[in-house]
């Protein structure tokens, strides 16, 4: 038997009281879980670094990304050209940084647009139910049925795409998955007591959706948005690689690989570098998205 002094007893009690008082809100719990998820933190740090590089980088380069320099065709990496030059003698690093701006901008904006569209349609379907739900979900199924890549390629032939057009088209084909997720969340929320109470007080539909249902679906929306940034970056780069996206001379990570097959034997970096940037960026967003997904779901508290 260990005898406590009075002082120790007080300390002990104090400690117990303190630990009992630590009641975390769901948001704090999520932050805590996210904090313990190394992979997600790595993703977040990678995204911050990549975004900074792409924003600041082009200002530090002395070359014009589109300037053809026939004396430096497929030049080897040197102090002058850190990563060498491509088949038109353009500085690879400069194009990589400028291309990154385009690729990231297209990826982020089309993900944002598609999540907004998806949330709107999912919210309408989930909130109103009945015929509205039936019609909207059949429409969603229909869009899901459309083969995305071949359709985007066909559209690119019809309307020579500008970057803005590309963003809109990618978003128009990507919203269905987020619509489904938001809808199913709305269907769950709709039956909860606080929502019924709010409805009983006679709040308008718009207010119900905007102040009660949408904020409580924000976790689903954020996770889907993060994951779809990666998807739309891949979509843009694939289209640009196939010659149906961002048109040269404007650089994007995808169209920088268009001629990679003819240059990779002599200048392997022209084939490696842009793809590596795509991989790293998409990887970062997928790490983050998956980590957020784990963080918001208490059931998935693994470790």
């Amino acid at each position: 038997m260990v005898a406590f002094t009075k002082r120790q007893m007080v300390d002990k009690l104090d400690e117990t009281a303190k630990s009992a008082a630590v009641v975390r809100s769901p948001f704090q719990q999520a932050v805590h879980r996210f904090h313990r998820n190394t992979v997600a933190k790595v993703g977040l740090v990678m995204i911050i670094i990549l975004v900074l590089i792409v924003i600041i980088g082009p200002f530090c380069m002395k070359y014009d990304p589109d300037a053809v320099d026939l004396y430096n065709v497929r030049a080897k990496p040197s102090v002058e050209h850190l990563l060498g030059c491509d088949d038109l003698g353009r500085d690879l690093l400069t194009r990589l940084l400028h291309g990154g701006r385009i690729s990231m901008a297209v990826g982020l904006t089309s993900a944002l647009l598609s999540i907004m569209l998806g949330s709107l349609i999912g919210a309408m379907a989930g909130y109103y139910g009945g015929i509205v739900d039936g019609l909207l979900m059949r429409f969603t199924d229909l869009v899901l049925t459309i083969p995305t890549l071949p359709l985007l390629m066909t559209l690119a032939v019809i309307f020579k795409p500008s970057p803005v057009f590309l963003v809109v088209m990618i978003a128009l084909l990507m919203w269905p998955s987020s619509a489904r997720l938001v809808r199913s969340r709305f269907l769950t929320l709709r039956e909860l007591d606080y929502v019924r109470a709010a409805r009983a007080t006679g709040e308008s539909d718009a207010r119900m959706i905007l102040t009660h249902l949408l904020p409580n679906s924000l976790d689903v929306i954020i996770v889907t948005a993060t994951l779809s940034v990666g998807n739309s970056i891949i979509m843009e780069s694939t289209l640009s690689f196939l010659g149906c996206g961002i048109n040269p001379p404007t650089a994007s990570w995808g169209n920088m690989l268009q001629n990679a097959q003819s240059t990779m034997a002599t200048a392997p970096l022209t084939a490696i570098a842009p793809g590596l940037m795509i991989l790293l960026t998409v990887l970062a967003f997928n790490f983050l998205g998956d980590g957020l997904d784990d963080a918001i779901d208490p059931k998935r508290d693994k470790r």
């Binding site: 229909l142 049925t145 890549l149 071949p150 359709l151 559209l155 032939v157 990666g230 196939l242 998409v282």
Partner: protein
């Protein structure tokens, strides 16, 4: 064993019920197919250029002759009549003539089917044979070294732009090491050009690239599913009965974990076509994807429409099959 289960189920519930469900779902697919065909037809209408443009440059084409052609092809008809005409052609096998090669679209597409099936089939098989065992292994050994390495690695598979993966494999195995051919389906010269072995050698790189798209997501899906099933009561019961762990895992758990996989795999079948467009382009594989890509470059609309239609049909058919298989395999589903 699965079969015995199924027949028992049919006897119990009455076979007509399942058949009725299959019939109902098939009928539901038809409006879907019509809607997609309308979208594709609308695209066709939005295409720049007019089928008659090429006659306008011909000095021998009198206005009367052009009028006659218009009438013969129904180009003055209202748009819905033109659509019905086009739809009739699709149904009866008249898919139009390619602008570039002046050959029938249907025959052009059908001669590309075999190479595409070779590529997609092999990739599907590779993905399935690697992903499912790997997912199961990760789930059984959850939190151990292999799982901790393999699961984050699947992220690479999901995040990898497949065309770049193809380029890198070419760079390493064809350009660098010279072990495998970099492109094409057969060698142009050589004693065994065109033999099965030759095609198989050409098939290795593209099918690895194409299978990567599925490999990662299927591994993750199998792992999640398997873990979920392992947490269920009937597994605890089976273990409590003293059943051999191997039997619990590979008979009770695996079978139940694979049922949702059937749907996922079915729904991925159409996705493989988009993948084929990319992979076939990178490896110059002479399949439908390459045909599609070439037709894009040449703006050969009839072929584009034909391939889009084939693809849409495939998607809807796969959806249908997924629903039916799910209903048949999972007795808990109520029709």
């Amino acid at each position: 064993m699965q079969f015995a289960c199924l027949s028992e189920y049919f006897l119990r519930e009455g076979e007509h019920k399942v058949l009725k469900y299959i019939g109902k779902r098939t009928l539901q697919a038809i409006p879907m197919l019509l809607a997609v065909s309308i979208i594709i037809f609308a695209l066709l209408q939005a295409m720049p250029g007019d089928p008659l443009d090429m006659y306008l440059e011909n000095p021998n084409a009198t206005p009367e002759a052009i009028e006659r052609i218009k009438e013969a092809h129904g180009l003055d008809d209202p748009i819905h009549i033109q659509y019905l005409h086009w739809l009739k052609g699709i149904v009866t096998g008249d898919w139009g003539i390619s602008i570039m090669s002046r050959r029938s679209v249907l025959s052009l597409i059908s001669e590309r089917v075999v190479p595409t099936l070779q590529l997609t089939g092999t990739s599907f098989l590779i993905a399935l044979l690697v992903a499912v065992p790997m997912g199961v292994y990760c789930a059984i050994n959850k939190g151990k070294a292999f799982d901790n390495i393999a699961t984050p690695l699947t992220f690479f598979g999901i995040s990898m732009p497949s065309f770049w993966f193809g380029l890198i494999l070419q760079l390493i195995f064809a350009v660098g090491l010279g072990w495998l051919p970099s492109a094409g389906r057969t060698s142009i010269t050589g004693a065994n050009a065109g033999s099965a072995l030759d095609i198989a050698r050409h098939l290795i790189l593209p099918s690895i690239v194409l299978s990567l798209i599925y490999f990662a997501s299927w591994t993750r899906y199998t792992r999640t599913n398997f873990l979920e099933v392992l947490g269920q009561d009937f597994i605890r019961t089976a273990r409590a009965k003293g059943l051999h762990e191997r039997k619990v895992l590979f008979v009770h758990a695996l079978r139940n974990a694979l049922i949702p996989m059937v749907t996922v795999i079915m729904l991925d079948i159409p996705v493989i076509f988009s993948g084929a467009v990319i992979t076939e382009r990178v490896f110059a594989w002479p399949g439908m994807g390459t045909l599609f890509y070439d037709s894009i470059a040449k703006q050969d609309y009839p072929i584009l429409m034909g391939i889009l239609m084939v693809n849409a049909f495939l998607v809807i058919f796969a959806n249908l099959l997924a629903d039916i298989l799910y209903a048949v395999l999972d007795p808990r589903i109520k029709y």
